[in-house]
């Protein structure tokens, strides 16, 4: 078993609160600063929201799986789905320069928040179906 905790829920946005509680309680046990715990919860919430919005296109009946594993050097979080593979350009890190009010775009922020919070973010879209994103957080800050 390459995980300590595995949770599978349907891709219903109602379950996001439960996922946040699980992530908060698990991460909080590793003595990380309170603010970082908040940011990790946010970033995993964003990963799950993206699965619901993009991979399942808003459908609430797809499997959404979360795997958590504490390794000696880092905490590892995996979010997996069986939905539509997301194209590579959706995953790219962009610079988050403070925009002018005119340039503001609602949306597209979730992936950037994931990159901001984690030390490593690896996206593995399937060839025909599914996505997996692995996020790693160094334990020594």
């Amino acid at each position: 078993m390459n995980y300590d905790i595995r949770l599978e829920v349907r891709s219903d946005p109602r379950h996001l609160g439960l996922i946040r509680t699980l992530i908060h309680d698990w991460v909080d046990g590793f003595g990380l600063p309170h603010e970082l715990v908040h940011d990790v919860v946010l970033a995993i919430d964003e990963a799950c929201s993206n699965v619901i919005r993009h991979a399942y296109e808003g459908r609430g009946d797809g499997p959404l799986e979360i795997r958590l594993q504490a390794l000696p050097e880092h905490l590892e979080f995996e979010v997996r789905d069986q939905g539509v593979p997301c194209p590579q350009e959706c995953h790219e890190r962009r610079s988050l320069e403070a925009p002018d009010a005119d340039e503001l775009q609602p949306g597209g922020l979730g992936v950037q928040l994931m990159h901001q919070v984690f030390d490593q973010v690896v996206f593995c879209p399937g060839e025909k179906r599914g996505n997996c994103v692995t996020m790693r957080l160094l334990r020594k800050r």
């Binding site: 946005p13 609160g17 940011d39 925009p99 503001l104 775009q105």
Partner: protein
């Protein structure tokens, strides 16, 4: 946690007070309240976020949309007393300098 949204209005100002958690599940409710307030306001929209325990990027996107719509119709759009959680996500998104923010109501 559910989301509670109250709306108060005076002659020129629409005030929305938001309490609870804003995420992909609840942000559609916030979006309709914000867009309605922007439509109805004569001069100003104030969104009080003191009671927001959590906000994700869909909440931020909602605020961005309200802010842009208000600007288009020459109305001001102010975030009032945003909670730590709201400030944190705005800072991560580098948007804390874009909004008009009234820290102490």
């Amino acid at each position: 946690m559910a989301l509670k949204i109250d709306r108060n209005r005076s002659d020129l100002v629409e005030v929305i007070t938001v309490e609870g958690e804003v995420d992909l599940y609840t942000s559609p409710d916030l979006r309709s309240a914000v867009l309605k307030a922007v439509r109805k306001a004569k001069e100003r929209v104030e969104v009080n976020l003191a009671g927001v325990a959590y906000m994700d990027s869909s909440g931020v996107a909602t605020l961005v949309e309200g802010f842009k719509k208000a600007n288009e119709s020459s109305k001001t759009f102010t975030l009032v007393a945003p909670s730590d959680s709201v400030m944190k996500v705005l800072q991560l998104a580098k948007l804390d300098g874009v909004f008009e923010i009234d820290r102490a109501p």
